[in-house]
């Protein structure tokens, strides 16, 4: 069966510090991978998605970047955090059926980021 891991589970960082969140998927190959942010009381906002190693698409302009150095590894980064980067960050995967859309997505446990 497939599992998805995220770490760390919680993180408190000062404004201006760098960020690195990691996501790994087990039990599947060539998954589509996603990073979402969830603000309190709001829906999930798609930040980045990837259909393969080194292939990253960004949905919204922001202070963050993503990378996919290995097939089942997805990393979310920032060089300098802003207060507005606080939130609940979720990684998700879906099966590669030749299209990003039309696939159910499975989520990891999330990382709670607080920027002070």
């Amino acid at each position: 069966s497939q599992t998805i891991h995220q770490w760390p589970a919680t993180l408190v960082q000062p404004v201006g510090s760098p960020l690195s969140l990691e996501c790994t998927v087990e039990g599947t190959s060539n998954p589509n991978l996603y990073w979402y942010r969830q603000a309190a009381g709001r829906g999930l906002q798609l930040l980045f998605y990837s259909v393969g190693i080194g292939q990253i698409s960004s949905e919204v302009p922001q202070n963050l970047s993503a990378s996919r150095p290995q097939d089942r590894q997805f990393i979310l980064s920032s060089k300098k955090l802003l207060l507005s980067d606080s939130g609940f960050y979720l990684c998700a995967w879906s099966r590669d059926r030749g299209s990003i859309a039309y696939n159910e997505q499975f989520f990891g446990p999330g990382t709670r980021l607080t920027v002070l």
């Binding site: 709001r42 829906g43 999930l44 798609l46 979720l90 159910e104 989520f107 990891g108």
Partner: protein
Amino acid sequence: EDQVTQSPEALRLQEGESSSLNCSYTVSGLRGLFWYRQDPGKGPEFLFTLYSAGEEKEKERLKATLTKKESFLHITAPKPEDSATYLCAVHIYNNNDMRFGAGTRLTVKP
């Protein structure tokens, strides 16, 4: 503009009191509608996918239905463990985005 709206924002039920959650959407072309359950501090858990109007899916006390404009998540004889936030999301034609609603926070009292 493509939108997904869930109602009500919050719902409090007594154990055994059946009800429905609504997800209405205005999108240019629906490729799929998804329901998720999210417990506090955790990632969403996949429940159902619906692809075409008239389709229905069931899982234990939950039943999801789809029309051309909205989806309902019916909860029959809920139990306290059904308490969670239920999220609806849609995939849109010619778009790589899965658009999420803000969710309905369900509380079931014993």
